[in-house]
Symmetry: C2
C-alpha cells in the first residue's frame, strides 16, 4: 500500500517536471525571468512585493498570485498598477496547499508574457509542499519572519534548501521578541550555506533597497545571480 | 485526468476516515480525550503547551508530536516530564505537510493510552492540509499569531472552520504591529461564528489560565465543550 502511494506520488512529480519544463520554454521564448516566492502564512510576501514592484526602473513586471481562496493579495498588488492574475487552488482538494506547474500553465494565457521582463509567482503560504513542485521558474526566494522562531530552517529544511534567496523579514520586531538572529543564521547556514540572505523589514523599510536591487538583477542581469 | 485525480483523492480521504474511526474507538476504550492542535509554522503551538502541560492538576497527559523532520519540539516538551512520541513525516513524500490517521495509528503502540486522560496531537505547521485529515480526535484547536495578519481566516477558511477553539497568540506584540484585533475577530466570525476564542500570549502569560482551564475541561468534562 505504501509502495503504491509512493509510486503514484513519483508519477505526479514526474508529470509536474514535464509541465514545468514547458512553462520554462515559454518564459525563455518570451524573454521573461520568473521568480517563485514562497513562505509560511503571514511572513510578508505580499508586503515585500508592495514595497518594490512600483520602483523597478523600467522593468516590466507582473504577478501570478496563488491562494487557497479569495483574492485579497491580488487586490493589494493591483493597486500598484501591475498586471496581476489570480489562481485559486480551492477547487483541487478542499484547497491545494501549493502551486504546481499545471496550475501555473493554466494561467499563462492570461499573462502578456511578451510584454514582460519579470514575472513573480507568489505561492500559497506553506513551508512544505511548495518546495516540492517546480513551476518553471528561474529562481526561488523565500520569506522567513523573525516572529516564527529560529528553528524553522531545521524543521522545514527542504524549503530553506530549495531557495537561492532567503529574506529574513519583520526585523523591526527584534527588540520585542525572544529571538536570536545569529542562531537563525547558523541554522540557515547548516541547511543551505549557499543561499543569499537579506535582512529586511517591509514595515520600517530596512533592507528594501537591497531587495529591489536583487529583483532588478534577476530581471536584467540574471547571470549575476549564479 | 482531473476527474481521475479527484477520485484518487476522495479514496485517500475515505481511507483516512476509516482509520480515524478506529483510532477514536481505541481512545474511547482507553478513556483518553484527544486534541488535535494546529497552526501555521511558528505561531506558538509548542510554547503554549510548555506553558500549561505541567499544571494540569492530576490530568495525565501525553503529546504526539508531528514534524516534517527533527525532534526539536519533542525535546522541549519532554523537559516537562510528560510522555512525548515523535512522528517524522519526512519519509512520506519529501515531507508530508500534515498528519493523517494512519500516521497517528502507527504511533499508538508507543503511547500508554490506558494511563492517560488527555493526549495532545501537535500537528505539522500548516494552515491547509492538516484541516482536511481527521485523526480520531475529540476536539480541534488552532493557534493564530497576531504577527500573521488579520486576513488569515479569509485566506485559509477551512482551517478556521474546522476548529472548536481558536487561540489568538502573541498578544504582547500588538503595540508593535499594524494589526487590528477587531478586524481579525470579525474575519473569524465570518468563517466560524461558533468557535470559542482565547486571546493569549505564551510570552507574557496573558490568557494562559483560560487555556489551561479549557484543556482541563476537555480532559475531565468534555461534555461542557459542546
Amino acid at each position: 500500500m505504501h509502495r503504491t502511494k509512493v509510486s503514484v506520488v513519483e508519477g505526479v512529480l514526474d508529470a509536474n517536471d514535464t509541465i514545468a519544463a514547458a512553462n520554462r520554454a515559454d518564459f525563455e521564448r518570451a524573454g521573461v525571468r520568473v521568480l517563485n516566492l514562497m513562505s509560511a502564512p503571514g511572513a510578508g510576501k505580499t508586503a515585500l512585493l508592495e514595497r518594490v514592484l512600483g520602483a523597478l526602473d523600467g522593468v516590466r513586471v507582473a504577478v501570478l498570485e496563488g491562494d487557497v481562496q479569495g483574492s485579497l493579495d491580488a487586490a493589494r498588488l493591483a493597486r500598484l498598477h501591475v498586471p496581476v492574475v489570480q489562481i485559486d487552488t480551492d477547487p483541487g482538494f478542499g484547497g491545494e496547499c501549493h502551486l504546481d506547474a499545471n496550475m501555473v500553465r493554466s494561467a499563462l494565457p492570461q499573462l502578456p508574457l511578451e510584454e514582460l521582463d519579470l514575472l513573480v509567482i507568489e505561492n500559497v503560504g506553506n513551508l512544505v509542499c511548495p518546495a516540492e513542485f517546480r513551476v518553471g521558474e528561474h529562481a526561488r526566494a523565500m520569506v522567513c519572519s523573525v516572529a516564527e522562531g529560529e528553528d524553522k530552517p531545521l524543521k522545514y529544511p527542504l524549503m530553506f534548501r530549495a531557495c537561492e534567496l532567503v529574506l529574513v523579514n519583520k526585523l523591526d520586531l527584534l527588540p520585542h521578541l525572544d529571538f536570536d538572529l545569529d542562531t537563525l543564521l547558523v541554522n540557515l547556514a547548516a541547511v543551505n550555506p549557499d543561499a543569499e540572505r537579506l535582512l529586511v523589514s517591509a514595515r520600517s523599510g530596512a533592507g528594501i533597497e537591497a531587495w529591489r536591487r536583487w529583483l532588478m538583477r534577476l530581471a536584467v542581469h540574471p547571470e549575476a545571480l549564479a
